[in-house]
Symmetry: C2
Subunit: 143 residues, 2 copies
DNA sequence: TCCAAGTTTAGAACAATTCCAATTCGCATC
DNA sequence: GATGCGAATTGGAATTGTTCTAAACTTGGA
């Protein structure tokens, strides 16, 4: 059986070394914290979370690690208006739903054919390499 | 014949006074400059453009005017990643295509039914009031 | 064991935006 | 046509999220 990306720290060392980078304790911890609590935290929130486990880590390092993970395509940035960048370890193609009441961000999986349809809608002189879709609205608590 | 929104400064005074606000020279100028050059300028760019016509205007006022126009729904903010907010006077529902080479932003009109389809794709506990769609890619110069 | 390159760190710097307090503007009333 | 008053503008200070810098630390391999 071919190992699928298991969303655990295994893929981390691999993808990092693919880019000629090291799997440091800080990078592993930052990545693990994102997988553990998939609520699209900001850098400051990640900092607060990892500090409990590694009290000496610095905010600059958290920013560095996050940027590294983004570059290795292990995580993605999520931006909304001008507020702090948030981070998402969900690598499937998906949209983001911003709950305007709570500020929470939820992942919304979208069928791949739909995204293709969307790209095909562009004028012929536009060639899209990526599409970002963001919903704004309110979500009912699910009981 | 019923006057349609004519994208000229006429609608401005109306929509402003609807919100209990005045149509000041600064607000009119900022709005006119956005209509004149529809390239999604930043606040600083708007500032540079209007200064040629009103050398005494301040950057703070440009920010104030832009915010006011957004609140009156005469223009819209366009954000990408964490770069400066840009402003768009196109009120039709449309997506934005970011040319990664040039940094230019182009409006892409999308069929309304498509946007409805998109919203209908959400889980039933999500109620979207707005959708934002951003394409990234390159565009060929049209001759 | 030692080295060079990679990484982390604290704090300074930066850039976009917002805030603030003082002045100016402009409609309404006298 | 002056006066009053809230709205709007202004320059500069403050804020905030992020990046930069330079020094210290770590590590895999010669
Ligand atoms: Mn990015
Ligand atoms: Mn807005
Ligand atoms: Zn996500
Ligand atoms: Zn636009």
């Amino acid at each position: 059986m071919i190992a699928q990306a298991t969303n655990s720290s295994e893929g981390l060392a691999q993808k990092l070394s693919d880019s000629g980078l090291r799997a440091t304790p800080q990078r592993e911890l930052v990545y693990r914290s994102l997988l553990q609590q998939r609520d699209h935290p900001t850098a400051e929130e990640v900092f607060a979370r990892v500090k409990t486990e590694m009290p000496t880590i610095s905010l600059a390092t958290v920013y560095n690690c996050l940027e590294t993970l983004v570059q290795c395509r292990l995580i993605r940035q999520v931006n909304h208006e001008r507020s702090s960048t948030r981070y998402c370890p969900n690598l499937r193609p998906h949209a983001h739903f911003h709950d305007e009441q709570t500020g929470e961000i939820h992942d919304v999986d979208l069928p791949a054919p739909f995204l293709d349809q969307l790209k095909s809608m562009l004028p012929t002189n536009f060639h899209a390499s990526a599409v970002e879709i963001t919903f704004l609205g309110k979500s009912e608590k699910n009981s």
